[in-house]
Symmetry: C2
Subunit: 212 residues, 2 copies
DNA sequence: ACACTTAGATAGTGCCACTCTCCAACGGAA
DNA sequence: TTCCGTTGGAGAGTGGCACTATCTAAGTGT
């Protein structure tokens, strides 16, 4: 299939596809002649994934490139690829150094990881992007004066753990070659799902408590 | 306190505070003379909230203005204000009309809402931003060919419900005047917390399943 | 008296995700 | 063969957004 058809089947403008090719979010098509290139079904798949990551997952283009590069890196094993891909996923602002709020937050996060027995997070320590983002977010709550007892965080952590189990169960239904892509897609695309459900649930719960 | 002190105590550059004032994210200070304005503790509070919403919650400035305007609107009751504020919260892309994937997603979401007995979401129907974002995200998963059984969605919905209960419990520990602001702050700032915990949990679970 | 600050308005900056324009190279129709 | 529309590729341009720098008139401290 040629660029025009790829565009039509995906709904992405040709100019944008060219941009993604230039940014190496898509592998180049097979060059037939100087002015003709052939794209396959896997290009269409990849293009749809890219679009989803960027538009639904609100991921920056540069980040999507890194994530996909990690997922594609054939020099790495299955696990290393997954880890690298999730590691490259977009994350929030970094916690500030020498900030008492950040210090308190860090302590609290460490307590939660210990209580949850998430040794992996402990080992990786404050290098993991998710850990740093978590600390920054909690530091921010602390700065605003909102309490966030460790107990309350543990509720969230426990629920996050259940989510992870459900997600990994789903991933395991795929064959190994697609698992890496599936982890990336499901991790990112279930984020808006989860957040939307939470907002709907909050609206529901709130109207139950206050309206009636 | 003057603008310079507000800047120093919050860590936000004066130029940026001026920008927020212009954009009506902060109420103007009390004008003393033509070149002097006095800001109070509540300006500092509000400024910190604005910064958190924008930087930690990644909320666009225009959206933050709408959310805060709704939370401040004294012509509305407690509940209407909360609803309006949450309604204005940033949301993802809209589902496309006349798209079979979106249609399937819509059906599935309705089933979930019915099974969860979330009548409120049912009544509001497809007008609620969270509902529309949810449909768009699931449509996207469908387009990519990832299965998302209603059962799997229900797992997420149930967990979202538990989260909402925990969150509202926390909100109720505040006095009514601060509750609206608390709902906004906690809804938005717990999103990165939840997503970070989920990623950490996934890493943990994944290393448990695959590494060992 | 006069250098220094301040509040406020206006214009400019940098980044990012596209999008437009151009060009040389085909490729089917006359 | 000659024409003319189409294609892939590359570089420059666009629009939106969140600031940020400059400027001006009006105080303030010594």
């Amino acid at each position: 299939m040629r660029l025009a058809e790829l565009s039509e089947r995906s709904g992405v403008p040709t100019a944008t596809i060219k941009y993604y090719l230039r940014e190496r979010l898509l592998p180049p098509g097979e060059r037939i002649t100087a002015t003709k290139a052939e794209y396959g079904e896997e290009h269409l798949r990849r293009l749809r994934l890219v679009r989803s990551l960027i538009q639904v997952g609100r991921m920056p283009v540069a980040t999507a490139r890194e994530v996909l590069a990690a997922a594609d890196d054939e020099s790495l094993g299955q696990n290393a690829r997954m880890g690298a891909a999730v590691w490259a996923l977009p994350h929030g602002p970094e916690p500030e150094e020498d900030d008492p709020h950040a210090a308190r937050a860090r302590e609290q996060v460490d307590t939660v990881l210990r209580r949850m027995d998430w040794s992996h997070g402990q080992e990786l320590g404050d290098n993991a992007p998710a850990y740093r983002t978590l600390v920054a977010a909690i530091a921010s709550l602390d700065r605003l004066g909102y309490p966030h007892e460790t107990e309350h965080l543990l509720v969230h952590a426990r629920l996050a753990g259940e989510l992870a189990v459900a997600d990994l169960d789903l991933v395991e239904t795929y064959g190994t070659p697609e698992q890496i892509e599936a982890v990336v897609a499901l991790t990112v695309l279930y984020e808006p799902v989860l957040l939307s459900l939470r907002r709907l649930a909050q609206t529901e719960e709130s109207s139950r408590r206050f309206k009636k």
